[in-house]
Amino acid sequence: MTEAERPEGEEPVPDVDVLPGGIRGAVEAILMVADRPVTDEQVAAVLGRPSAEVRGVLVDLQREYDGYTGSGFQSTEPSEPRGFELRNIAGGWRIFSRTHFASVVADFVLDGQTARLSQAALETLAVIAYRQPVSRARVSAIRGVNVDSVVRTLLQRGLVVEQETDPETGAVLYGTTILFLERLGLGSVDELPRIAPHLPGLESLGEYDETTY
């Protein structure tokens, strides 16, 4: 892209092709400073490249880190995987340490891991994930117990968030967060396993919950 073609008012984007490492290096550099999943579009905007090209680079890097291609795109022979992996989750890309080094890494990640969720918290989280946006009253109805303190814990953990207010009842409606997707390694809520096998005809139950409580 030449200077003349650029939309007015924007700063010139550096041409990364002339730098050692090129676009691949530039994408890697960005991944190094990201503290949350980065989308193709974010990287594309910073580099002034089409999203599709950036996506191609990210997919290549992912395969390379997994040991399917050599570095520098020259080698085609499978090689050892790197100690880290690039994952596409929660709507973006992020670097993770490789699973099988978990015990080695744990000592260097202070504060990283949080306590396990209780059974009550897991069940409540499941209901919110599948029924979002959903009120506490409705979650209570489905679980048959008061869920106030459990929802508070999930809020503190950042796994759920107050999304909106029900226009009719004024009740706060809860949904899951990006952190929830990250912790579960999911790309989006749609990737949650279907609940139907567990319960045929569940969807038709939706209406009853409110009225029976």
Partner: protein, 291 residues
């Protein structure tokens, strides 16, 4: 006999499922009747062992009891006697509970899956490192206009205890005097006959305690089953109006007593029931007595 582990206990549905699966019972009316009895026995055992009611279990008990009441009511229908809308409503109530139990079980299974995913993902650690120093220097200069007083006011606001919505049911009523369904039914009858159709809120505004509130609710169910009252609702989620629909003299509290004895909760080991009528209304009485 079954024994429920309290550590696994997380609500009435959990307990019901547990009871049902342990006995490998289908959810049939008869089986549920047995489960009902076992549930009451279970609650009593806890009470005997612990010496007092535990808040959680006592409040869950009310929920389970109300649910089981629905089932009991459905069980009262003679088989093949589904004729009027009332009967159908009772059967629907039973189906609804069945469906809700299935739903609960489905979420329990999904929760197990989530737990497994979380554990697997815990083995991966995202790169989350402090910003590199050369980048920190590029951050825009912070605009800071807060005085120490502003800051203290903010801290006071954030640190103030939040107004929590009540998340616990008080247990005061467990030590309250006995409240009988029959007496409350008579009071409701009086209200409805003299003041015309009323909402549940209006019927309970003088309740005074949660126990009276609950017992009035139960009395309403009994009255409804006896055809003494009817419910009107103008629109979904609109307020429900209770109307006295029995003819004068057609209903009396005496009828309620015998009905309850016939189909209500058969409390086991009922030697402690003073009037020999261990019916529905014995809830309040028992809770008070066992104090």
């Amino acid at each position: 006999m079954f024994a429920v582990q309290l550590t696994n206990f997380s609500g009435p549905f959990d307990l019901l499922l547990n009871l049902i699966s342990r006995r490998e019972l289908d959810i049939t009316e008869i089986a549920l009747a047995q489960v009902t009895d076992e549930f009451i026995a279970h609650i009593r055992r806890i009470q005997a062992a612990e010496g007092e009611w535990k808040l959680d279990e006592a409040s869950e008990f009310l929920v389970v009891a109300a649910t089981l009441l629905d089932l009991k009511a459905a069980r009262l229908l003679p088989s093949g006697a589904v004729e009027d809308e009332e009967d159908i409503a009772l059967l629907e109530a039973r189906d609804l509970l069945f469906a809700r139990l299935l739903q609960y079980r489905a979420f329990k299974e999904v929760a197990r899956h989530l737990a497994q995913r979380l554990e697997e993902e815990d083995a991966r650690h995202p790169r989350d490192v402090p910003l590199e120093p050369h980048l920190t220097r590029l951050l825009p200069e912070l605009i800071w206009k807060h005085t120490p007083e502003d800051f203290a006011a903010l801290a006071a606001k954030v640190l103030a205890p939040r107004q929590e919505q009540p998340s616990e049911v008080g247990i005061e009523h467990l030590h309250a005097p006995a409240v009988s369904v029959r007496d409350q039914a008579v009071i409701l009858q009086d209200f409805l006959m003299t003041r015309g159709p009323l909402s549940f809120r209006q019927l309970t505004e003088d309740a005074g305690s949660r126990l009276v509130l609950v017992v009035r609710f139960l009395a309403l169910l009994e009255l409804f089953r006896d055809g003494a009252i009817s419910f009107d609702q103008a629109a979904p989620l609109a307020e429900l109006l209770v109307r006295w629909s029995a003819e004068d003299g057609q209903w009396s509290a005496e009828a309620l007593t015998s009905d309850v004895e016939a189909g209500g909760f058969e409390a086991e080991g009922n030697g402690d029931a003073p009037d020999g009528g261990p019916g529905l209304r014995s809830w309040g009485e028992r809770e008070a007595q066992d104090d």
